[in-house]
Amino acid sequence: MATEPIVLSTVAQLFPNGISRYAVGGLLVGLGVAVIYLGTAITAGASTFLESTLSYVSDQSRFRRYRSSRDWRIVFTLGIVAGAAVYAVTIQSGLLSSSLYTPGTTGREWELGGVTLWLTDVQPWRLFLGGVLVGIGTRIGKGCTSGHGVCGVGSASRTSIVGVMTFLAVAIGTAQIVMALGVSP
């Protein structure tokens, strides 16, 4: 049938890097959350760390309420950094390879002690200004891509589904405008 190559080429256009690295990575992200949930009943999100960590240095009432969770949130964040570093040492450095993994062409690679590390080309002003807005927005909006997107959607929470649709739609609009203005990278 003539339709088959058209379907395949459409899929190839939508997913130029395949889907396996995304699907496998996503399953692992979910597994990480599930492991913590199984042992502790905690639904772990990433953005509260920003406020809970500020409670060590600031006495604002808004941060004080996170004192009870601030220690494990630091452990969770250090785990995320370490897990990504394990990926860098093994797969990014080519020590391990998998048919499920497609290497990328984005950014720049650099070497440190035999480990292949990676640097973004996105400009620092975009990262900083975007970061400020992410810091404000995730805390006012009650969650980020992990809190709302993974834990909230996994809970079939209406609040989270509305939250995800909101930030997804606005982010797509913003990124399209930024691209149309010719800002790259």
Binding site: I19, Y22, G25, G26, G30, V33, Y37, L38, G39, T40, A41, I42, T43, A44, G45, S47, T53, L54, S61, R62, G79, I80, G83, A84, A85, A88, Q92, G107, T116, W118, L119, D121, R126, L129, G130, G131, L133, V134, I136, G137, T138, R139, G141, K142, G143, C144, S146, G147, H148, C151, G154, S155, S157, T166, F167, L168, V170, A171, A175, I177
Partner: protein, 144 residues
């Protein structure tokens, strides 16, 4: 705590493996040139969805904390839309969200410190402003 570290380890490895720790790849999704991100977010949500649905039926309390298993449900109000929109502008501009930013540091992307610094500045600013607001109700739930 070791379990939380292990969970973070798997979580961070997944973000590295899926290239979500690379702002360029997230921006490629938002600019419609690579839709892979959908598989990451929904793949993860399916796994947590199964865990959140099954565990409360298997046993009452978590072995390590003794807490009851529940879902992540938050009350809906205007802030979900306002905050979500502000987060959306920031995410669309930078291609980075909190969890991915921590992971980005792990893959060697020291430039991401700009975004992490920005996130702390933003979280601090909203915290100072909202701490001044007179708490009209004391029933505010903790946010993730």
């Amino acid at each position: 705590m070791p379990l939380i570290f292990a969970g973070g380890l798997i979580f961070g490895f997944g973000l590295g493996f899926s290239h979500m720790a690379r702002p360029e790849v997230v921006l490629n999704f938002l600019q419609f040139t690579d839709f892979g991100l959908l598989f990451v977010m929904f793949g993860a949500a399916i796994v947590t969805g199964v865990a959140f649905a099954v565990m409360p039926r298997v046993c009452d309390r978590a072995p390590l904390t003794g807490d009851t298993y529940g879902r992540r449900l938050k009350p809906f109000d205007r802030n979900v839309l306002i905050g979500g929109a502000i987060f959306g502008v920031g995410w669309g501009l930078s291609g980075i969200c909190p969890g991915a930013a921590y992971a980005s540091l792990g893959v060697g992307n020291v430039t991401i410190l700009w975004a992490l610094a920005g996130m702390f500045v933003g979280a601090y600013l909203q915290g100072v402003v909202r701490s001044r607001e007179v708490p009209s109700s004391r029933s505010t739930a903790a946010d993730d």
